[in-house]
């Protein structure tokens, strides 16, 4: 049995063909989906996202060309400027939503996925998994990307725009993060954790509790 997280309707779980989506029969919320190779794809995309994230944070996003001089800014420098301008709350908000939260999400994904790939359940799996779920809505890479584009258009009449490496990295990161969110299957993760724990000789916690619920 499964309960819809949006309307609480009790429903029977069904087996899905690959690529299928199960929606709640009453309110239409997506209950779960099955992706081919969900696990391996998430892992591969996470590895890619980490590389892109590092690039996006270590290189300048954009530069302005004025009188033969190029002035560039990185993401961290943007945050620093806001902080120095006595806009600490806005600086923290930008820092949290574009750097901290995506970093935490990627870190959590790596921590969860790599040991599971090797057939082991990482310690504190549940806490890290919950942290990832909490952090996810606050990572706003795609909104930041649009913000950069809008500000570029706004400044284009002032000076020449020099797109930096980080701009492309951010654009790519935006798609990769969206792909991770689409591909990652929490049910599959929990099933793998259970399997790994069983293999390691632990008592299968989820098995007993589902049995109790029935």
């Amino acid at each position: 049995m499964i309960a819809c997280h949006e309307c609480d309707l009790l429903q029977r779980e069904v087996h899905l063909p690959l690529g299928g989506i199960v929606r709640c029969g009453r309110c239409g919320a997506e209950l779960y989906r099955s992706h081919p190779d969900s696990f391996d794809r998430s892992l591969a995309l996470t590895a890619g996202a980490i590389v892109l994230f590092i690039l996006a944070n270590s290189f300048p996003i954009v530069g302005l060309k004025l009188q033969g001089q190029v002035i560039q800014t990185t993401l961290l420098h943007t945050v620093q400027t806001l902080w120095n301008e006595d806009m600490k709350s806005v600086g923290i908000l930008v820092f949290a939503t574009t750097m901290l939260m995506p970093a935490l999400e990627l870190f959590a994904l790596t921590y969860l996925l790599v040991p599971l790939r090797l057939g082991r359940a990482p310690p504190y799996f549940a806490i890290v998994f919950r942290t990832m779920q909490t952090v996810r809505p606050w990572g706003m890479v795609e909104v930041f990307m649009l913000g950069v584009l809008v500000s570029l258009v706004k400044l284009a009449h002032l000076a020449g725009i020099v797109p930096g490496i980080a701009l492309w990295a951010f654009a790519a990161l935006m798609f990769v993060m969206a792909a991770i969110a689409a591909v990652l299957d929490p049910r599959d993760l929990w099933a793998r954790v259970a399997a790994a724990r069983e293999a390691a000789g632990y008592r299968n916690m989820s098995g007993t509790s589902i049995g109790a619920a029935r």
Partner: protein, 208 residues
């Protein structure tokens, strides 16, 4: 149709890991046996919390729109830009598509989001069974779209950082940016605090 909610059967679903478990009699809250998260039948004090966050956001929405987001000072004088004047600037300078994006992301989305949450709260409190499916859909849209209001904050951040370094003009962020950031964060929290399952509970009450 024998549709019944998990709560009516004494079962609750974990929001973190999706596990359905049975609650011991007379308990309203358990720890999920699989992931250890707190599991409730319904989010605690959902309606009151959502109202509190929403009303705060509504109050902040006024300074967010009235106070300037940016101050520009250059050789040619200084000027302050609110969100709306930014939209007007883009509109008159020919970038009407950008004017539309900012207008929607910064003015329409927060406003519609607050109106939608009020509608959801009021209908839920009245235990209305009107348009339950559509209202759930509305909730989903509100949850999804809220983040896009951060757009203007990022625009201010990037412009301030880039133009700071120029000799010909300095741009500094204005107090409107703080209020606006507050509106976005508070409405996101408000949407998270709301429990859409409360809407569907009106169906059960009627039956028995």
């Amino acid at each position: 149709m024998t549709a019944c909610s998990a709560a009516s059967q004494g079962m609750l679903v974990c929001h973190a890991c999706g596990l359905l478990s049975r609650a011991p009699a007379h308990s309203h809250e358990i720890s999920c046996p699989r992931c250890g998260d707190h599991v409730h039948f319904r989010k605690p004090d959902s309606i009151a919390r959502t109202w509190a966050l929403l009303i705060t956001a509504m109050i902040l929405y006024i300074p967010a729109n009235v106070l300037p987001m940016m101050h520009t000072s250059s050789l040619f004088g200084s000027q302050s830009d609110t969100i709306m004047s930014g939209v007007v600037y883009f509109w008159t300078s020919g970038s009407w598509y950008l004017a539309l994006i900012i207008f929607f992301a910064s003015i329409m989305v927060p406003m519609l989001k607050m109106i939608a949450l009020v509608l959801l709260l009021v209908t839920t409190q009245r235990r209305s069974r009107w348009q339950l499916q559509q209202r759930t859909k509305l909730y989903r849209v509100v949850e999804f779209v809220g983040r896009w209001s951060m757009l203007d904050i990022y625009v201010v951040a990037v412009i301030v950082a880039l133009v700071q370094l120029q000799a010909l003009a300095t741009i500094t962020p204005g107090p409107g940016a703080i209020a606006f950031g507050g509106v976005v964060v508070l409405t996101m929290f408000a949407a998270m605090a709301f429990d859409p399952r409360l809407m569907w509970d009106s169906l059960e009450e009627e039956r028995g």
